[in-house]
Symmetry: C2
Subunit: 135 residues, 2 copies
DNA sequence: ATCTTAATTGAGAACAGATGTCAATAACTT
DNA sequence: AAGTTATTGACATCTGTTCTCAATTAAGAT
């Protein structure tokens, strides 16, 4: 069996996950170490995987980024800045309907994802200022 | 400068890409080797990256899969089987409008992606037959 | 409370996709 | 045909993630 016991490690990881904003596993590992430096990298990856399998968190596969984790379970889309890496949740906009599809093209759908890639407001403003380059 | 010359390697890779169905770089490497065994793995990754940057192909970051490449440039969604790995293009369904968004949440959007994960028709049928398990 | 046992963890090795290095090669320009 | 420079091949390297396995520990049974 698996994921049956309530351990300090899981509690800390879950707390860090709720506090962080679409972190990668490595980012979470760093913040988790501040609470308890004995937690290992493998545990962070393992527990995150279990949480994802259990539907407690969502895995995000964003273009050009390591896997990120989203503690928000309600259906929503994501904007992803290709310059600074920031990820913004997008609720509304009519995307919930698309994400709620349960059958399409003969498939039985278990999860869905809508992702927009571009420049976030801050990076967009910074672009105009000088000789910056994308990416 | 970069991607200026018409080489045999690029021609073969582009041909294999058009013939294959959402292949990974490694799958493409295998099929490309059948045409010319001297082509190296690095060249396949390099050329695919250039094609993606030039908009000739799209990178697909599907859950639990290596990066795949899509030779179809028209906007469409994807279904992805978590059991056999198959990827199906989904044209229509009203997703084009969502994918055509150019500004959202203050972002300037350059690319977008809609992905459904689940069981494809074949795997769905196979599930009923015996004591199979998901993944 | 203590015992039992099986889930969980930590440390590090191992793996794999992807990228970097650099001399050799081959497309274009003239 | 010769020169310039993008491109390639072979291999090293990097890095996110998973695996291994003995040691630990949570939670139910006694």
């Amino acid at each position: 069996m698996e994921n049956k016991r309530n351990t300090e490690q899981k509690r800390i990881i879950l707390g860090a996950l709720a506090a962080a904003d679409h972190p990668t596993a490595s980012e979470l590992y760093e913040s988790v170490r501040l609470k308890n430096p004995r937690i290992s990298r493998a545990t962070v990856f393992r527990v995150l995987g279990q949480f994802a399998d259990d539907g407690v968190v969502r895995r995000l596969n964003l273009l050009g980024s390591d896997t990120r984790f989203d503690a928000r379970t309600a259906p929503h889309a994501h904007c992803h800045c290709i310059r600074c890496g920031r990820v913004t949740d997008v609720f509304g906009g009519g995307f919930e309907e698309a994400l709620a599809v349960s059958h399409i093209a003969g498939y039985k759908v278990f999860s869905s994802e809508i992702e927009f890639s571009g420049l976030c407001p801050d990076c967009l403003a910074a672009e105009g200022e000088g000789d910056n380059r994308y990416i």
